[in-house]
């Protein structure tokens, strides 16, 4: 396992490892003042959206039992990914190494579900007792005749980001390049880092369909295993708001000569830019023409649809504190709606992300580097903001303080990507800000009145 982690740490495209950062690697969490998930969590975020595969967690109950069914990746047909599968190790299993149990579990999954592949996740406990996941997966794969893929990303090697990256490595090492698509077109691209939360991938696909761009492989939102196998045949990779998987894009460029770019679908501007970039990078005149006409029409229509929302949102002040969905891309979307972003959480942002945030909001806005909930509230008050836009983890922090809130993380229920997504975002922001509850909260209770007399 060691070698995987060392390799992921040394990712040259990660700026923590640039020459002037002296290879200090990722920041270590502070005991007693840490928040956020572990590498196992990160690996599952990246791989679970492969909906037709089986995902087996090798460890005691905490890792699988406390986490399954908690994510918002949607599927258009296969539902095996929703099964919580774990070896549920007991004390005796741990003493004896857990190997027989793992082999039995893999075979049972193959018998019962006949999946196209089984992903097996190591956890802290199995890594600690030295389970050789690679060799077990390899020999079991031969026995059952389907790919069994080791995911060496136990929680204690680092943060969620590290887990995303290790999951990307697992796909590179064991999946991508193992099959070829029946047909190829000059318009084949992969989306990397798009997990189809609330169905956002479907809105993006709809846009692509209208201009003739084909998604060869979704990595991994609403993903299918067989398609990811032939992802190396794409003409272009788009990394969707996720630097965490940059290693994958870079390796595919190196190994398969596929160029990549980073883009976003939050906001009309970013959506248009992403579509245009795809057409330029695919270098097809016809496509460029189509995309220009299409995006122009979409933007015009959207501008009309947004008028009534913009009136209500103009000048409203927002604090943005997101995890996975990158702050900079949401900022653009909010600015298009007339909202002023007066504070941004950067605890999970890379240095590049922070530069992009500054480009968009200027130097005056507050960057919230760490400190979690109390820092968010402090910034909210100091900046006299109107709404907090964050992940579900912080939802009740805001609501307890009687502050309007919008969820933009992985548990969110609304899809905000593309032109139609921006309209939904505007709608939800207006709902959040104008809800009657904010007035109800101000009405004095009968007891309070009696007390005054």
């Amino acid at each position: 396992m060691e070698k995987y982690v060392v390799e992921a740490f040394a990712e040259p495209a990660c700026e923590h490892n640039s020459v002037n950062q002296a290879h200090k690697g990722c920041v270590q969490p502070t005991p007693g003042a840490a928040s956020g998930g572990c590498s196992f969590d990160g690996a599952q975020i990246t791989l679970l959206p492969i909906v037709d595969a089986a995902h087996l967690v090798h460890g005691p109950i905490a890792c699988g039992g406390n986490s399954w069914e908690a994510r918002g990746s949607l599927s258009s047909g296969s539902y095996l990914y929703q099964y919580g599968l774990t070896t549920d190790l007991k004390e005796q299993d741990i003493i004896f190494g857990g190997e027989q149990k793992l082999r039995g579990a893999i075979r049972e999954i193959a018998d019962r579900f006949s999946p196209p592949a089984i992903f097996v996740y190591s956890t802290c406990v199995t890594a600690l007792i030295g389970v050789d996941l690679d060799s077990i997966c390899k020999s079991e794969s031969k026995v059952i005749g389907i790919p069994v893929i080791p995911v060496n990303s136990p929680g204690f090697v680092g943060s969620k980001n590290m887990g995303n990256r290790l999951a990307g490595n697992a796909l590179m090492d064991h999946v991508i390049g193992t099959d070829t698509p029946p047909i190829e077109t000059p318009f084949d691209i992969n989306l990397i880092g798009e997990y189809n939360i609330a169905g956002e991938m479907w809105d993006i696909k709809e846009l692509f369909d209208q201009v003739g761009i084909r998604i060869l492989a979704n990595i991994t939102g609403d993903g299918r295993f067989h398609k990811i196998r032939w992802a190396h045949k794409a003409k272009l990779n788009m990394l969707v708001c996720s630097r965490a998987l940059i290693n994958m894009a870079r390796k595919m460029e190196e190994k398969y000569d596929i160029p990549y770019f980073e883009g976003s679908f939050y906001g009309a501007k970013e959506t248009t830019l992403s579509l245009l970039t795809i057409s330029y990078m695919l270098n097809n005149q016809e496509l460029m023409k189509k995309v220009r006409a299409f995006t122009k029409a979409q933007e015009e229509k959207l501008a009309f649809d947004l008028t009534k929302f913009r009136k209500k949102l103009l000048g409203k002040r927002a604090i943005l504190y997101t995890g996975g969905v990158k702050s900079w891309s949401i900022i653009s979307a909010l600015q298009e709606l007339g909202i002023e972003v007066v504070g941004v959480g950067t605890n999970k942002s890379t240095m590049d992300d922070i530069e992009r945030i500054k480009e968009r909001i200027g130097e005056s806005a507050k960057l919230i580097e760490s400190g979690g909930a109390s820092k968010i509230l402090e910034t909210f008050r100091n900046e006299k903001a109107d709404i907090i836009i964050a992940g579900g983890r912080n939802m009740y922090v805001a609501l307890k303080e009687q502050i309007p809130f919008l969820d933009v993380n992985q548990e969110r229920h609304h899809a905000y990507a593309g032109y139609v997504g921006l309209k939904r975002l505007a709608e939800q922001l207006v709902y959040a800000l104008e809800h009657p509850i904010w007035e109800l909260l101000q009405s004095p209770s009968p007891w309070k009145e009696v007390g005054k007399e």
Binding site: A62, E69, I109, G392, E411
Partner: protein, 427 residues
């Protein structure tokens, strides 16, 4: 009456969660408290995310955020660093350091670490360690072990002042982990209505019910205070609801000579008749006539709904105490128990007439072929759908529902609430 432990290599759709989660829940019922989860940061993050989804309240929790090297060289330094960071930043009144499968496997001596720390430091905070490996037990046992560790710690602190003079009419309530915040509130109200004052520890009814208290704190807001915890030793009686907490009551009895009475369940007519009779004889009072109305309403509700239960097959997957409680009420309603799964082998299960499988929700699914009603936590929803069986989500976790922590199924009125829910699903 058999407890069947299935020797399975693969758990499919687990019913249980980690013991550590039960420990974290217990700490939410103590005022200005924080559980420190000794493990990698995911151990705490998953618990926080899951509990936030269920309770729709902020959850107090921190982590020692172990990384690989910390484990290899021993987690002691991370534990102390984390404790001091929390003590200096947030000044909690109570802190429990909860171990995980990771630190138990690594052989980390958490109890020794805390003991040594407290020898040389005197923080103004009640700190106690709890061993909660997740390779055994589930939520209920984690909650149970944490309450026991808390009482052990309190006894240790109080050993020079015990036994204390008893306060007339003061009663301890030890409320099991299967009770919702609304349940605990209802039980307190019933006991109080007989003229008693009640100390509940832990008390999630004032912390996980949704107060409008402002002013953010990473510590728990609401729950039993430290003064109330000391008061546990001055009560004249302990009422235990849920067999899992019986040992805790025995510890109070041994340390301070406080007798206890166990009620394995407070759902159903007979369970509540027994409870009210007990309170009547203890207080020498008849109790509020209001409850007579509630009892009439309950019986009337059973009369109205009994058609819908007769011959209906019910499958249930719940933690042990909860399973016992719900099975009892289903039998009073005339339903047929057609399959039972629980998360681990606990004492309460061995007193039951039915066969109980220690397993997962996939086991329950195989029993649900001909079922009419499926009762489990929300993880069972998809299985019930696949079998086309009506589904009642109770227990933990519950997704996609508002108010799970306020829903009350204890007392006469609470039982009526539950029957209404079940009948409407069966009708």
């Amino acid at each position: 009456m058999t407890i069947v432990k299935l020797d399975k290599k693969l758990a499919i759709n687990p019913l249980k969660v980690s013991q550590t989660l039960g420990g974290v829940l217990a700490l939410q019922g103590l005022f200005r408290a924080i559980p420190l989860v000794h493990g990698s940061q995911g151990c705490a993050a998953f618990i926080k995310a899951l509990m936030t989804q269920h309770y729709r309240e902020p959850v107090s929790i921190q982590t020692t955020a172990l990384q690989e090297m910390n484990i290899i060289f021993g987690g002691e330094r991370s534990t102390i660093e984390a404790m001091e960071t929390i003590l200096n930043k947030h000044h909690p009144s109570l802190m429990a350091v909860l171990s995980t499968g990771l630190t138990e496997t690594a052989g980390d001596d958490l109890i020794g670490t805390i003991k040594n720390y407290l020898k040389t430091n005197e923080p103004n905070c009640f700190i106690f360690p709890v061993a909660l490996p997740d390779f055994e037990g589930s939520l209920e046992s984690g909650f149970q072990l944490t309450v026991e560790a808390m009482i052990r710690g309190l006894v240790e602190q109080q050993k020079f002042t015990l036994p204390m003079k008893k306060k007339q009419n003061q009663i301890n309530l030890l409320a099991g982990s299967f009770l919702t915040a609304g349940d605990v509130m209802e039980i307190k109200k019933i006991i109080q209505s007989f003229g008693f004052s009640v100390i509940t520890a832990p008390d999630i009814s004032t912390s996980l019910t949704g107060s409008l208290q402002k002013g953010f704190s990473p510590l728990s807001q609401g729950g039993a205070t430290r003064e109330q915890l000391q008061g546990l030793f001055e009560s004249e009686m302990t009422i235990v609801v849920g067999t899992s907490l019986e040992k805790s009551a025995q510890m109070l009895e041994a340390a301070a000579g406080i007798p206890y009475r166990l009620f394995p369940s407070l759902t159903g007519l007979k369970a509540n008749d027994e409870f009210f009779s007990f309170l009547q004889s203890l207080s020498g009072k008849k109790g509020d006539s209001f409850y007579q109305w509630e009892r009439d309403n309950l019986l009337d509700c059973i009369l109205d709904s009994h058609f819908y239960f007769s011959g209906k097959k019910i499958v249930i997957g719940l933690e042990p105490d909860h399973l016992f409680s719900i099975v009892n009420v289903c039998k009073e309603l005339g339903g047929t128990i057609d399959g039972l799964v629980s998360s681990f082998s606990a004492k309460v299960l061995s007193n039951m007439e039915e066969d109980i499988f220690i397993g997962d929700l996939d086991d329950l699914e195989t029993m649900a072929d001909n079922a009419d009603l499926w009762i489990s936590n929300s993880h069972g929803e998809k299985g019930a759908d696949r079998k086309n069986v009506a589904f009642l989500p109770i227990g933990f976790p519950i997704f996609h529902q508002i108010g799970s922590s306020l829903f009350t199924s204890v007392g006469y009125r609470g039982t009526t609430n539950l029957i209404i829910k079940m009948s409407n699903l069966l009708m």
